[in-house]
Point group: C2
Chain length 178, copies 2
DNA sequence: GAACTTTATGCAAATAGTTGCACAATGATC
DNA sequence: GATCATTGTGCAACTATTTGCATAAAGTTC
């Protein structure tokens, strides 16, 4: 149960509406934790009950209130407590690897691998741009900024590894010559 | 919904009981798809209803029957159909990356990173042993064996990448000094 | 001004996955 | 002979996540 904690991390950077959080989960944080807006709203409601977040609502006539969520002291304490726990092993779930292992349709695997490679390249490019723009002097980073940088570096490593893997697959498929 | 398909892949290699599958999900296939025995039994029942698998039961007095599951022609067709689909993007969920990004407790992060690094090394060692033992001549592999080999290579790449990332984190934490 | 996208919130239903428990024989260790 | 691990199956309750739908104003494009 860590969507709670991913939201706490997001809110500890800056307060946001549910909608806003959903967009941030589509972008940077979303690389490590995916969530839809429906799920985010549900979890935010529970977090509010627990006192981990507070809301300031803006009335909008005819529509539901717009609510901006902020992390509370209790929320910060929970974030700290959770950070102290050893982190659970990743639950890996790779459709692609299962498919590869099954090897039921080599031609489909080749296509899929090429598609994946292109996606990795695209994501990598975006990451490297972020890196250049936001962290031009990594040796001077401290605290949460250092954390965000290191997370980004992990993303970059993952994408590079993904590309290398795709290349190996494509190479072996060619050598095996169908 | 791909546990079904991971099970089909496992059964296409060889027939198995639910218990047996659970163990195989703990080992090789489990690197790409984790599942508990309870979930596996539940899904197997559904797959049986769909006709994707067939069972041969052995009576055991006083106990529930032991059932060996095998993939059927329908199951093979479904596996092939699914293989033809472009694979969905991974749902990444990394507790660790979220924690790193939050950076609420640097000392806990260092410990966690060291623990993770050790786990990566352990898994990598196991993979490399499998590689040496089962695939001494990778250039001659074909079909499902080639698929399993390439999946293993992906696992190896992932572990190596994970170790490099841990090393970078530990290095930066030291440079940032505390 | 009509049509489309973005901002913004949320319910309902279904599926997926986890956690806790239970039963029962067989084989291995003390 | 007692105790413990392994083989084996499964239910029940709960939590997490996905998918489909609904509403509505404000801003943008044709």
């Amino acid at each position: 149960m860590a969507l709670e904690h991913a939201i706490l991390v997001a809110l500890s950077e800056r307060s946001a509406t549910g909608y806003d959080l959903a967009r941030r989960f589509d972008a940077s944080i979303g690389h490590f934790w995916r969530a839809t807006h429906q799920q985010i709203y549900k979890v935010l409601a529970r977090m509010d009950e627990n006192g981990w977040v507070s809301t300031s609502a803006t009335k909008r006539d005819g529509r539901l209130d717009k609510k901006t969520y902020s992390i509370t002291a209790t929320g910060k304490a929970e974030l700290k407590r959770w950070s102290g726990e050893p982190s659970a092993k990743e639950v890996t779930r790779s459709d692609f690897a299962v498919k590869l292992r099954g090897f039921a349709d080599p031609e489909a695997i080749r296509e899929d691998t090429e598609k994946r490679r292109a996606e990795h390249v695209e994501t990598l490019t975006a990451y490297e741009e972020s890196e250049k723009r936001f962290y031009p002097r990594p040796e001077s980073l401290r605290g949460q900024e250092l954390g965000a940088f290191l997370a980004l570096r992990g993303g970059i490593a993952l994408e590079k590894g993904g590309i290398a893997w795709c290349d190996e697959i494509l190479g072996r498929l060619n050598d095996a010559g169908h």
